[in-house]
């Protein structure tokens, strides 16, 4: 990245505090993180380390208790729920561990879903959903229901859906967590290819070191703080610490 370019994601001293009854849970304790457009970042950490909370904030599903989050040139903390919905719709794509496809809805309609909320005309939805399914290698499966597809295929549908409105940011939360190793490799290859071809920024949460291997940068969370933020080559050691 050229110096002076504003990062795509800019978190500054972000806190997230929950109140569970009388107990105060400090999920994030002053996170600062910059991610440039086009980066491929892995977020790792034990469960409860705050990585999921951080992903929810980056994905505009939640808002920080304190601190600032800028996505591009937008101050997310100042947005209403509907404005955040619009950002999720057009600028962010989500990929979940359990796919989260609509069960009685065909692959094509699942992919079209974000476009419906974006107000894309019907015929354009269809055409683009077809193109996206072809791009993730599911040509000919448009009319299949999720139950008729394998786990890896379902995750491909979910990735196609995440790309529906041409977002600049893809957030994947344990995308290979429910997949066998062969499917995991295929899905990760797909992410690598999408980043190269479509120039999307990809952030993925994982606790599997060999998945983090695919990325260029590994950010490690522990107890609501970032404990390391290293390029991939230097991250192996950290990963082993996490695993151990």
């Amino acid at each position: 990245m050229a110096p002076g370019t504003r990062p795509l994601i800019q978190l500054r001293d972000v806190w997230k505090v929950y109140h569970l009854g009388d107990v105060e849970v400090r999920a994030l304790r002053g996170i600062s993180l910059d991610i440039q457009a086009g980066e491929f970042v892995a977020i790792v950490g034990a469960s409860g380390s705050g990585k999921s909370t951080c992903m929810n904030l980056i994905g505009c599903l939640d808002q920080p208790t304190r601190g600032t989050y800028r996505l591009g040139d937008v101050d997310v903390a100042a947005l209403s729920a509907n404005e955040r919905a619009a950002i999720r719709n057009r600028r962010i794509g989500f990929v979940f561990q359990n796919f989260n496809l609509l069960g009685r809805t065909t692959a094509l309609e699942n992919v079209a879903l974000p476009m419906i909320y974006a107000g894309v005309p019907f015929w354009k939805q269809r055409r683009r959903a077809r193109e996206l399914l072809a791009a993730v290698g599911l040509r000919g499966r448009e009319r299949h229901l999720p139950s008729q597809l394998s786990g890896g295929q379902q995750q491909r549908v979910a990735i196609a859906r995440a790309l529906a409105n041409g977002p600049s940011l893809l957030l994947a939360d344990e995308p290979t967590g429910n997949l066998d190793s062969q499917s995991s490799i295929e899905i990760m290859d797909l992410f690598v290819r999408l980043r190269r071809e479509r120039h999307v920024t990809i952030i993925l949460v994982t606790h599997e070191p060999h998945i983090a291997e695919y990325t260029r940068r590994v950010v490690t969370f522990r107890d609501g703080r970032i404990v390391s933020d290293l390029p991939r080559a230097a991250s192996r050691h950290t990963l082993e610490i996490v695993r151990g």
């Binding site: 599903l61 919905a85 999720r88 989500f94 009685r104 974000p114 005309p121 529906a164």
Partner: protein, 410 residues
């Protein structure tokens, strides 16, 4: 547009997913709408029958019949007293300002013969004013006039039933000679068909002859000028309530009835009878409609209940939709459409069922019914409104879900 279409498709899919549950949910609305449609049809049918009855008797009529005689304390039947006369009738025309026209009748069941056919029918001796008072048109020929009446001409005007009984189809009764109690009469006119009264009497089964002819030649009389019935038409509908007291006062005076003693005649306001039966059916209809609306209300609560269940079941789906960019309004719309679809489908089924029930009742009970498109449309719209009203709370709950919690929901 797109969004509404998707909502409708999603809604119908959700309904189809669990047909039995959807059907049971809709049952309240179905019963409510069917009840409304059926009740209104029956009520309108009853009203139309009453209306027709009023029309067939003639508008704004008051009927006066002689009272019962009392001989040594024994009452005979009403109408047997022979206390009303033609003079009473003409006096009513002259002295009751609220009355515009008066007719009277002398009535007896007689044997009527034409060729080899014969038929027993009430012969009525009436003045020429009878048809205009009863608002009864002719279908052929002419009615007898004052000359016929004054000279007691043997001319007759037949009701349709009598024509059907005496003449072969296609035969022209005009000019034919029939025998009434063995007296030859020339048929000069045929009455238009009037149908039955509400109590099942065939009004077309009648032979009308001039009053004097009846009195002098056919029916005979003990006292000249007595009549079996006087019919008075009110000048306008507004003065109808005044007609009865005016006639009563006049007749009591003419019959020299001391105050405190009963009338020797009966005055019946035909509209009043009709009005009473109309009111009775209206009361009944309102009663049943309120029961129907309770059913609609219960149906609405059923819809709310099942929508709440549906929102809980589909929490994850809502989470996914929110994550991919659905706004609260989108989710609200989706579940509102779903609740409304439930109630509208229920309403449509209810209308079909209501029409079927109406037909069945009309067939089995032989009640007059009249299907009402506005009532069906109204019930349908009310059903839709109920869907929106009772669907709003569950829909709002769905729309207010926190996306993170909804996505994690198991």
């Amino acid at each position: 547009m797109n969004l509404i279409w998707m909502s409708v498709v999603t809604a119908l899919r959700a309904l189809r997913r669990n047909v039995l549950r959807s059907a049971l949910t809709m049952l309240g609305v179905i019963i409510g709408v069917a009840a409304v449609v059926t009740m209104v049809s029956i009520g309108r049918g009853a009203n139309a029958a009453v209306q027709q009855e009023i029309q067939s008797l003639g508008n704004n009529l008051v009927m006066i019949i002689p009272g019962a005689t009392t001989v040594s304390g024994v009452h005979t039947s009403s109408g047997s007293a022979g206390s009303l006369t033609v003079a009473d009738a003409t006096a009513i025309t002259k002295e009751c300002p609220a009355v515009s026209e008066v007719a009277w009748a002398k009535r007896q069941v007689v044997q009527v013969v034409y060729g080899s056919q014969n038929w027993a029918t009430p012969a009525q001796g009436v003045p020429p004013s009878y048809l205009s008072v009863r608002e009864w048109p002719l279908s052929a020929g002419r009615f007898f006039d004052h000359r016929d009446d004054a000279s007691a001409n043997p001319v007759a005007v037949l009701g349709q039933t009598v024509v059907d009984q005496l003449f072969t189809p296609g035969e022209d009764p005009l000019g034919a000679t029939i025998r009434v109690k063995n007296v030859p009469f020339e048929v000069i006119g045929v009455l238009a068909r009037k149908g039955q009264t509400a109590w099942g009497q065939d009004q077309d089964d009648v032979v009308l002859i001039p009053f004097l002819t009846a009195e002098r030649r056919v029916l005979g009389t003990q006292i000249l000028g007595t009549v079996d019935m006087i019919v008075a038409a009110a000048a306008t509908a507004d003065v109808l309530p005044k007609v009865e007291p005016q006639i009563r006062a006049l007749l009591r005076e003419r019959h020299r009835i001391p105050s405190g003693q009963d009338d020797d005649f009966t005055v019946r306001d035909l509209n009043e009878i009709a009005e009473a039966s109309k009111n009775a059916s209206a009361v009944m209809m309102n009663l049943l409609l309120s029961v129907a609306s309770v059913s609609l209300l219960v149906g609405g609560i059923g819809i709310m209940n099942i929508m709440l269940v549906s929102v809980t079941e589909r929490t994850r789906e809502i989470g996914v939709r929110l994550a991919v960019g659905a706004r609260t309004g989108h989710i609200l719309l989706q579940f509102l459409v779903e609740a409304t679809a439930l109630s509208l489908v229920g309403g449509a089924v209810g209308i079909v069922l209501g029409f079927a029930a109406t037909r069945l009742i009309a067939y089995l009970a032989q009640w007059p019914t009249l299907l009402s498109a506005p009532a069906a449309a109204g019930a349908f719209l009310v059903a839709g409104a109920i869907g929106i009203f009772f669907g709003f709370y569950p829909a709002r709950r769905a729309a207010r879900l926190d996306p993170i919690a909804a996505l994690r929901y198991e």
